[in-house]
Symmetry: C2
Subunit: 209 residues, 2 copies
């Protein structure tokens, strides 16, 4: 996709440990480093933010923390780009769903989503520096997701797969959880964890790609 | 997902050589055989059908040909399930797009889809037999896909990746082609080639799962 020339002289860092974000960023950049952010998410109170502002703020804090670690005052170093992301599920009742605390919590979330439409919002931030030139951008993308009505045996079968436990909203649309989804409206990869097409365009608009 | 018990006593056959359909059917069935159908698609004239009827007919012919090969008059044999699928892209102008004939054809298709909304329709058929009991079903699912406006360099970069050439409409939404997609409305896996969630529910409704 024409990204190779730029990337030979830019250090790209993903400030997230998510294997799904890693896979998606790999569609834009052939080569990058993963550096999960040390930023403590618990230092923010989710109740103080709308879901959009929450994921935007979290993605910015995650990316900026890593950027500050890698960037220094030496303007002769090669360009650096740090990308961060954060995803939440907003239930039909407005509850912001993170990762489940337990099996019971995961079952409760899946029952809440069953047969209804919810929102998935991913915030993305990037920080870029090339000598004196600096760029930074934060945005969020929303996708609507409709679940099929789920039976109790379907919910317990899905819990048994182990898939729900590290996923916001207790499902992964790219795995067995995709069998629970009737349709979506919006960007699919945004539900997976990174709206890669939009990110590529935002990077182009900033002259980074 | 509770499918394992049934599958121990049922021979499942995918009548398609598509690696993408293989991956998606694997979400429903832990174990199955791939047997691409010998049915000659060219024996049908696409102009004689609406896009929905075309993919439904092709999926049925593909699955039935394989079913007839494997099924015999011995009602004592283990149950057999054959699944077939066929996907087309319908351009904003109503052109039914199959796989591109050449690089120029692929570029033409991508230019046609650029910045606009098109439809992806997958037809699915299954044939099932358990002793005297027989079931068969055909359905189709439509998903709307919006492309970002594409530059000529983006189109040529995508062609260089080699990805477009075995794909209806000249793109694969699950690969680099996903970077061209702004949003969808409907089932994502239907665009990939098999609406697995809907198929699972249709099989359940027939008492097969």
């Amino acid at each position: 996709m024409g990204a190779e020339v730029v990337m030979k002289k830019c250090q790209v860092i993903l400030a997230s440990g998510s294997p799904r974000r890693k896979e998606l960023l790999g569609l834009i950049f052939p080569d990058f480093t993963v550096q999960p952010s040390p930023f403590d998410e618990k230092s923010l109170n989710p109740a103080d933010f709308s879901p959009e502002r929450l994921v935007e703020t979290l993605s910015r804090c995650k990316a900026e923390t890593v950027y500050n670690t890698f960037c220094n005052d030496n303007t002769d170093c090669i360009p650096i780009l740090v990308v961060g992301g954060d995803t939440v599920v907003v239930s039909p009742d407005g509850e912001v769903m993170g990762k489940p605390a337990s099996s019971e919590d995961a079952a409760r979330m899946l029952r809440t989503l069953s047969g209804r439409c919810h929102r998935v919002i991913t915030g993305v931030s990037f920080f870029y520096r090339d000598g004196e030139k600096q760029k930074a951008k934060t945005f969020s993308v929303e996708t609507k997701v409709w679940f099929y009505p789920l039976s109790e045996s379907e919910i317990s079968g899905y819990l048994d797969s182990g898939e729900p436990f590290d996923k916001a909203g207790s499902y992964g649309i790219q795995g067995l959880g995709g069998l629970l989804v009737q349709k979506i409206e919006g960007d699919y990869w945004n539900v997976v964890g990174l709206p890669a097409g939009r990110l590529k365009r935002e990077l182009s608009a900033c002259g980074i790609l």
